[in-house]
Symmetry: D2
Subunit: 285 residues, 4 copies
């Protein structure tokens, strides 16, 4: 780590809050009782978009016991204005209700400063999406909120810029930031994005913040999710966020990259065994 | 154009408002009396950040006669929370005052939905910056405003995604969109961004919207601005946006890429002669 | 796999030899008695450049029992003409001698058509380096040679182009191709290249050829090699190629990314345990 | 230039032969009597592949007076082994014959060290293609040849790496190198490659070597060639290399990006007028 820090990081001075002060420093972020960054691998699961109370309830029941946090989008940042934009507050209420029934905390994306208080009223963790990683008006607003933040890396953001966005949130008094790598944009077209698996050990070297991986958005195809999820655990990630849908072929968004619940649950079991093996060998502990 | 449209653009159907209906369609956007997209090449000049009334007044006087629109940033999206963030409303008032003295309309960036009305009260055109191109909360807000919008391309956005962002603004009733290419992110490190000069003829083939070029942000170095600006005119751009500062070495942001006023004015004269030559040959007319 | 094949791969028809005919098809390539693509994870280890008989002999003895194949470069493709270019035939003789003492087969890079016969006379597998992946004169020459080929992916090559280069070799009668992913070029600068971990499951879906990972070149830093190596195994790679040097600080090339032998051996043990766990769960078997 | 050289170029010391020693240094390379790098803009035109004596003769006659050098490929580096690979020596003889009839020098690509002497026997300048920019065996062989070299930039090569490849050729005594930018690989898919127009002024700042632009390969579409060619001239390029084919729809390679001869000739006239205007203003002179 020393070589990395001193020789290659001219930006080190600009990261007073996100950088590590000593090699063993590791923050643990509490999300409704779930510890991210601690010894247990954390799983966040749910559909891309909340579509109905039946849909989110079905997913919640199916992943219960195999996920710590329930996810679902109510405010969707869509590339086209003509795509489904989410159920807004109605969706948040559905997410809250379904999660309460199974006793799980929740995470959902916020895309506008003016929605921060609304979203914070319904969920346990707010997600800053990849396309908003450098939306500084949003970053400035969420840092006034005391909920934990899940900060996704932008598809064209360097690791330095990502940490600087975390620095925005932390510099105003909210230290509860969890980083999420979800793929960067490259010339390769067979994947939706290129999962930058190296970001995991680099963040572990540079920063005390927890890092989780979203293999679903990186891959863009359900049949790549399992190998990428296992790779993320092997590389030392603190958790995984995975899209699960009971009927991927009917999903209003991101169906091709969603797992069926039973497949998701098997993946979780494999990932947990893998984590135990690594801990037993003294790796990523 | 036909080959491009029919064979290679599966997304064509998704661009009902930004796409051309016939080859000669060209929108002209009126910004305080200045026509962007018409026969005359349009110049937008000014400092990256408004720093003081003296600074913006000095620039305004120096570029008068060599620029149509005065630019200056009051709300700055900065990668680090510890960098200068702009003078906010105070800066907008300075920009308005300096522009009024020389009789020029103005453009300034808006970064937050809640600032849209404020910025719109001071300027003639609002800029959506590169990092906010997919900030859909902001896009949805500005489309309620009837001012023209300068929509910069995101550093990792495809041309399709850029047009879809324009579609967001237009789909709610604001047709006054001007596109601005300012470089995309690549592996090359000698330039701040890689100016995608091909975007000019592609936009001219696909869309009726005007397109201007910002060579300053693309280059990141003042001594590349002139050749890139002339290249943009030769490729058919409708205008140029260039950073000008009376004392680049003291600038609070982007000094290395700012031109001194006299150098800027010589560049404008070259660009105008070049445009006349192209028109005389029936090119890009 | 079916969706991937039929909907997204217009180039499928152009890959008659490298593509899978049925989901379970998997080629196993024999390299001096070592089976790549079979049930056992294969390790290739050695220094970037062969520097002396003492150096290669020290590495060979240190990795014996923890590596199947000994690697070492004698013809080095260096970005600058003023860098160390390798020991040529003298180096190949050292590699052969050191490998013979420990009973391991060998691999070394060939960079010129005229050296193919020479390199083939000394080693068990020839490596086509990343910068030569589209050196068609070299591809045409090596396909006349009956030795197995280790084909590295070019830093800007799509997976389609990589498979087409394999098709070059196979189309003239040499079916013994092993693919090696070693990172692609992106905008991120904290790693030498961005390891495209998704290439592993994609190749497993599309092609019957074995795929190994070179985490050393991808990372460019020794302390990233272990997590990337484990990620590769978790993603389903058939093997690993890792740079090992007894004195990385004195290496004539790629010292910063080389592991000390003892660290390498511990990594191999972790990787093997991980592979056993995955097999036990019916994954990547 | 000084800021660029001293502050940002740690690699400066590694370019003793290609870098400028003083701001006005400019090499002029003589190709069969044509001066590249001098006051006159140089045009290289011809088909991607030489297909028949009739084809190359038709092109030669059509571009005579509007081109200085005739191009045509006889050894084609094709991504697929199943594509047309060129007519080899037979094609070179056709190129030589057609060029002799119109009194023009020639350029053609060499892809293998063993073909260097053969190609050099037929043409006035040898082209090193983009995919061979880091084929060091080829670079080492061509530097023994005393013919001028047209060195294309690799699609993923930094400007530094490109100059280092020129350094390879020059370091063994062949100073006759002309650089050719033809687009780099990015995430944008509407163009075959992204023309890096900034490379022109950067090379002019850093190196004394002439630089020409190939807009045909960058664009991948004939209707983008003209605006990109004019942009290149405006940015200060020393010349243009453009694909011309009498029947693009029947071309065996690169038909979609080839211009018809009459369109090419009009483009040349526009480019020449543009160059005169720039010279008259003291730009790029």
């Amino acid at each position: 780590m020393d070589t990395l820090k001193h020789k290659d990081l001219p930006f080190w001075e600009s990261l007073p809050l996100t950088s590590k002060k000593h090699p063993d420093e590791q923050s643990v972020i509490n999300v409704g009782g779930v510890q991210i960054g601690g010894p247990e691998l954390v799983f966040i699961a749910g559909p891309c978009s909340i579509e109905s109370i039946e849909q989110i309830r079905t997913v919640a029941r199916a992943v219960k016991g195999h996920a710590h946090i329930l996810r679902g989008g109510a405010f969707k940042p869509r590339t086209s204005p003509y795509s489904f934009q989410g159920l807004a507050e109605e969706g948040l209420a559905m997410l809250q209700a379904a999660a309460a029934e199974v006793g799980m905390p929740t995470v959902s994306e916020v895309v506008s400063p003016e929605d921060v208080d609304l979203v914070a009223a319904y969920v346990d963790m707010l997600q800053i999406g990849a396309r908003n990683m450098q939306n500084y008006a949003l970053l400035r607003k969420v840092r006034q909120c005391q909920k934990p933040m899940l900060l996704k890396r932008g598809p064209a953001a360097t690791i330095e810029e990502w940490l600087l966005s975390a620095e925005y949130i932390m510099s105003a008094g909210n230290p509860k930031v969890v980083l999420c790598e979800r793929g960067i944009r490259t010339f390769e077209t067979l994947t939706r994005n290129t999962l930058d698996i190296s970001a995991v050990p680099i963040i572990k070297h540079l920063s005390h913040l927890p890092i989780i991986i979203d293999p679903s958005h990186a891959a863009g195809r359900w049949n790549l999710v399992e190998p990428l999820a296992l790779a993320a655990v092997a590389a030392g990630a603190d958790g995984l966020m995975i899209e699960v849908h009971p009927h991927p072929e009917d999903a209003l968004s991101d169906g091709p990259q969603s797992l069926l619940p039973e497949r998701y649950c098997r993946l979780v079991e494999s990932a947990r065994e893998l984590r135990l093996l690594l801990e037993g060998r003294g790796l990523h502990a």
